[in-house]
């Protein structure tokens, strides 16, 4: 996975069937990138459902959450509606897994993203990363600890 201190490569992916989201447009915000294997696998659902409840805690640290998997924009739309997600999930669909590969978190055997987290600062530099075992929901304590440390360093 891309190392801490690296400039996060820019990308533009569909967040809904008719909307795209470009990473560099979010400059000035901290970004949590959550790569995950698949929309409907039960572990992912738990992880995304958990993060969905935590948005206000992320916002306290000026951080926005973005989920990314290789599922299509239509699949994401159904998943987001079903789980009432209030954050964008992006379709790393065509060419498949290109952005996951760019961040070195693609699983070639399964053909899906690994379960990986990145926290970017306001300038788009990776300040924290974590690769979780695929079957394990990593929770959010690591993300919040990272955001808290970033805030402390800044002040």
């Amino acid at each position: 996975m891309l190392a801490i201190g690296t400039k996060a490569p820019d990308f533009e992916l569909n967040s809904t069937p008719d909307q795209k989201l470009k990473l560099s447009e979010l400059k000035g915000k901290r970004i949590i990138l959550a790569f995950y294997p698949a929309d409907w696998s039960p572990v992912c659902g738990d992880q995304m459902a958990l993060y969905n409840e935590m948005l206000k805690y992320f916002h306290k640290y000026n951080a926005e959450l973005i989920g990314i998997s290789v599922d299509s924009k239509w699949c994401h739309m159904a998943f987001a509606q079903d789980r009432k997600l209030h954050f964008p999930i992006l379709a790393d669909y065509e060419p498949k897994g290109a952005i996951s590969k760019l961040y070195s978190v693609y699983d070639d055997v399964e053909g899906q993203s690994k379960r990986a987290l990145f926290v970017l600062d306001e300038e788009g530099i990776i300040r924290w990363n974590y690769l979780s075992p695929v079957g394990m929901n990593p929770g959010a304590d690591g993300i919040l600890d990272a955001l808290e440390i970033m805030s402390n360093v800044k002040s």
Binding site: L50, Y57, D141
Partner: protein, 171 residues
């Protein structure tokens, strides 16, 4: 992973306060897995007796469980009348009926002053307590419900009765 907020006076604690086993659950009243864990915890408490104290903290996932927060408020409101555990129990025993009408009926059933209960329902400090529990849970690595901590450490194995009892008995 460690419990970031130690058990304290703001917690709901059941059992022997100086017990050698401290069992903390982060739970959601509308979560079916927590409903499944409810009788298991009761049975563990019965079998371990004075050796265990049990603490319940709120971790409602309100987007997927729309009644979870109201149920949590109901239990906290009951706590103001010293009947937290009575509400905790009756809510877990009726997980499929957690709308306001039913919660008020439960308040009546466990002998609460219902007018007071309804009044306390809008008490901001109860919501704050629930959010405080939730945030403490996140910081401690709670990644779903139920999550258990035994003597401050996250319990990562099966909480079905037999393995959980074996583990707790070995402490």
């Amino acid at each position: 992973m460690n419990l970031k907020i130690a058990v304290n006076n703001n917690d709901h604690i059941q059992g022997n306060l100086s017990a050698s086993i401290e069992l903390v659950e982060y739970g959601d009243y509308q979560c079916p897995h927590c409903g499944h864990a409810y009788p298991i915890v009761k049975s563990l408490q019965k079998k371990l007796g004075d050796k265990v104290k049990f603490i319940f903290r709120n971790f409602p996932l309100q987007e997927i469980h729309p009644d979870a927060v109201n149920a949590a408020i109901a239990a906290e409101a009951a706590a103001l009348q010293n009947k937290f555990w009575e509400m905790h129990d009756i809510v877990f025993e009726h997980q499929n009926h957690l709308d306001s009408k039913h919660l008020i009926a439960y308040a009546e059933k466990i002998g609460l002053n219902v007018a007071q209960f309804e009044n306390d329902f809008t008490n901001e400090t109860l919501i704050q307590k629930i959010e405080h529990d939730f945030e403490g849970g996140i910081r401690s690595g709670v990644n779903g419900t139920p999550s258990f901590f035994v003597n401050g450490l996250k319990y990562q194995n099966s909480w079905e009765e037999e393995p959980f009892l074996n583990y707790l008995s070995s402490i």
